[in-house]
Symmetry: D2
Subunit: 266 residues, 4 copies
Amino acid sequence: MCNYVSRRTVLALGAVAAGEVLLGEALGGAPSRRRVVVWSEGTAPKTVYPKDINTAVAEGLAPLRGWQIVTATLADPEQGVAEESLQATDVLIWWGHVAHGEVRDEIVERVHHRVVLGGMGLIALHSGHFSKIFRKLMGTTCDLRWREIGEKERIWVVEPNHPIAAGLPPHFEIPHTEMYGERFDIPAPDALVFVSWFQGGDVFRSGCCFNRGIGRIFYFRPGHETFPIYHQPEVQRVIANACRWAAPADCPPTRFGQAVTPLEKC
Amino acid sequence: MCNYVSRRTVLALGAVAAGEVLLGEALGGAPSRRRVVVWSEGTAPKTVYPKDINTAVAEGLAPLRGWQIVTATLADPEQGVAEESLQATDVLIWWGHVAHGEVRDEIVERVHHRVVLGGMGLIALHSGHFSKIFRKLMGTTCDLRWREIGEKERIWVVEPNHPIAAGLPPHFEIPHTEMYGERFDIPAPDALVFVSWFQGGDVFRSGCCFNRGIGRIFYFRPGHETFPIYHQPEVQRVIANACRWAAPADCPPTRFGQAVTPLEKC
Amino acid sequence: MCNYVSRRTVLALGAVAAGEVLLGEALGGAPSRRRVVVWSEGTAPKTVYPKDINTAVAEGLAPLRGWQIVTATLADPEQGVAEESLQATDVLIWWGHVAHGEVRDEIVERVHHRVVLGGMGLIALHSGHFSKIFRKLMGTTCDLRWREIGEKERIWVVEPNHPIAAGLPPHFEIPHTEMYGERFDIPAPDALVFVSWFQGGDVFRSGCCFNRGIGRIFYFRPGHETFPIYHQPEVQRVIANACRWAAPADCPPTRFGQAVTPLEKC
Amino acid sequence: MCNYVSRRTVLALGAVAAGEVLLGEALGGAPSRRRVVVWSEGTAPKTVYPKDINTAVAEGLAPLRGWQIVTATLADPEQGVAEESLQATDVLIWWGHVAHGEVRDEIVERVHHRVVLGGMGLIALHSGHFSKIFRKLMGTTCDLRWREIGEKERIWVVEPNHPIAAGLPPHFEIPHTEMYGERFDIPAPDALVFVSWFQGGDVFRSGCCFNRGIGRIFYFRPGHETFPIYHQPEVQRVIANACRWAAPADCPPTRFGQAVTPLEKC
């Protein structure tokens, strides 16, 4: 038998016996301070992203007032994802492209564990569809079709009341981008928020929400290292919205394993 | 051609031209003051619910600090759902049983319009599964099996990270209740949060989330007029959580109708 | 208490007592002969559809060998949907546009009842998104954006293993059509099979599956009365596939209402 | 760029050029002969399953007339899952318990590849929830709560029109079984067909459908090696239904990778 306990819950349970119902607190209060880690490989062209993509994305999260925004990269100790840091992270944003294979399997396991059992949110950006962690969470190849000729993309909101679409217009454009086209080999998302139109004639499910374990995952298509897409206000808004949506819920420890005594007479 | 515009959005758009992107505001701020209307028929036994079920449910919403909680009933003018009141309502909680047929069709249309096009949340409680408004939103019979012998119910959380399950233990019990059993004739919910076990041998999908238009709908099974179920802390917590979840999103006006000019050259 | 019983099941149950398990039959056998009714208003231009759209669609169903294909129209007795005919129908295909309002409410109720409680499949084509029956089954406005300049549409298969996509290429084109664009106000479909790209810059969820009651519903976007779209082989293939998918399951009578005796001691 | 091609499709495409639309064939015809492989570890008690669980399950599939039913076990060459066999398999049924860890990772990769890219169906039975292949496909822990005191289980059909519920009564019982209880850590299933009631007070999502890649996956809870559950007619019927549902669709090769030439002028 084993009881998995999330960090947040352990803290919350500090003053109460395990199993007690946490019904007393006020519902209107703000959650404790949130922490986002923005991770990228360090491979983006300096001409477009002088401080790499992690910094560009982090700068776009300024509207998350009161949140702590941190960057991390592949070259950092523990590949930027030390266990201690992870335990204190509410949302991890992941951009990778040419170095997916360099991320060590034990790092992937660690992140997976933190999402599924700890409730950390994960936001995979653009070529992050092929990262080890996203593929492990999806269980499919996450493969797709692509073309790199700098064509136009128009992103349509198909679920306008979803929190990740808050404050957006019905559609917005990315002037020049790499195309990703269907068939995108993912499980049907728990919510499909955005669909992209491409100048070259393709479509793509561009904003996809998933629940895995007690963690929330958002895949967001836009972003290519050769275009300044992460400086666009609409793209920044989506990522900020996604951070709020993906942050861990107030979720008691999930108890798995043997339940020796039946609740009813057998 | 027609453009449907929600109240909240119109207000929000007051100072900006239609179509402008609302990207500037801080994301950490609290929404404007929320308003919940708790509606019941006025038919519950006075011995159990001296001020009817609407008041009992309203009292349980005290943890929603800063929210305005209002009660309404069938005998009120406009059957408790005047257009003006509805336009100012974020979440409508609905409990009905013997008087479903007395609710006038134009009232049902009005509520439906406010949910689907205005984004008002709707929470249907217990026998509210057979209310005109819930059936209209679902498109099915919403029929089920039932038995009234006061048996025990145990409610299991199957999606612990859902906002509606916040603060709840893995399961909780209702000592005596009317049984509702499968097959429950609803569309597969967008999220299934609770499943009930009954002493008499039945199961039921007890907590079901739906998106319809830009409105959010939650069906919650517990509650029978002959038992003090709406005084239970866990039940109160679920309903309060559901109010927060179902409150309207920051959602720009949905534009339907003719789109005369193509966005691209044709 | 009431027990709803589908026609197919009653026939199947002929020789057995109600409640007996139907486990004995071979699984490899073909179902009994299927019957499809193709309904249209009778308003399509004779230059494009000389025998109206119902006949054009019916002709495209020739590959459904062994099926009975029937046409019906608004001017027929009982508006083409007599109770007796409906009881013998496995799949009803519905195309309407300017005459939605002329379909009488009791006819809509009758079709709804047959879908939800009897398991008849319903396929709504193109402007059938605004038919009374489709809107009643969806519970939303089913509104959308549209433009009629004869632009090109490209339909992408996003769920290639869905039975409705059988035999199709990854995408196919409609040279000239009326555009339908997002936001399409439907519940999130139980399966999203197709997404359309439009020359004018829009996208649309073009092939959507829904379960409602014990009936299956498919919405398929293509088709406008001023273009010969229902003569295209890919469009015909989709509709034929959808007939097979939507035909009633081997489904015992759903029992609703009071379940007097508990299955377990209480 | 890479094009993944399923065996079935390659065969089907034999006489046509890749990319041609397969619109010509009749829809009423039977698929080519299907092949099911039933795999188990070889660890069940001989007193209950003298020829192990694979044989018991295979015998229950007799109603699949015209199908080839084969058994396989861990001790077979290639752990019972040789590449050649897999390529000829339409549905793989998997029962494991104490030997999950012995299944080699490359075998798991092979089966995963065949499901996701080749469209083979996978049916995981009972303790197969913890098999490497099921966990890899789900992306979560697939953990749950359990108790082994031989209590009663009652399985309720919640989606009666699903093909996997064909021919079943509204509920059926398993007199003595091991209990599995929620929280079951799986992604929300694409269809939830069965929910279990347990004598000891628990519930469980017992019949869950998933699409992954172009493969279909069904998890079915019943079955414990110390009880003769796989001899029950209702259980056998479910597994046979699931084989029919999970068999590969008529699905053209999914093309991934670089799409050099845009379909529209850019």
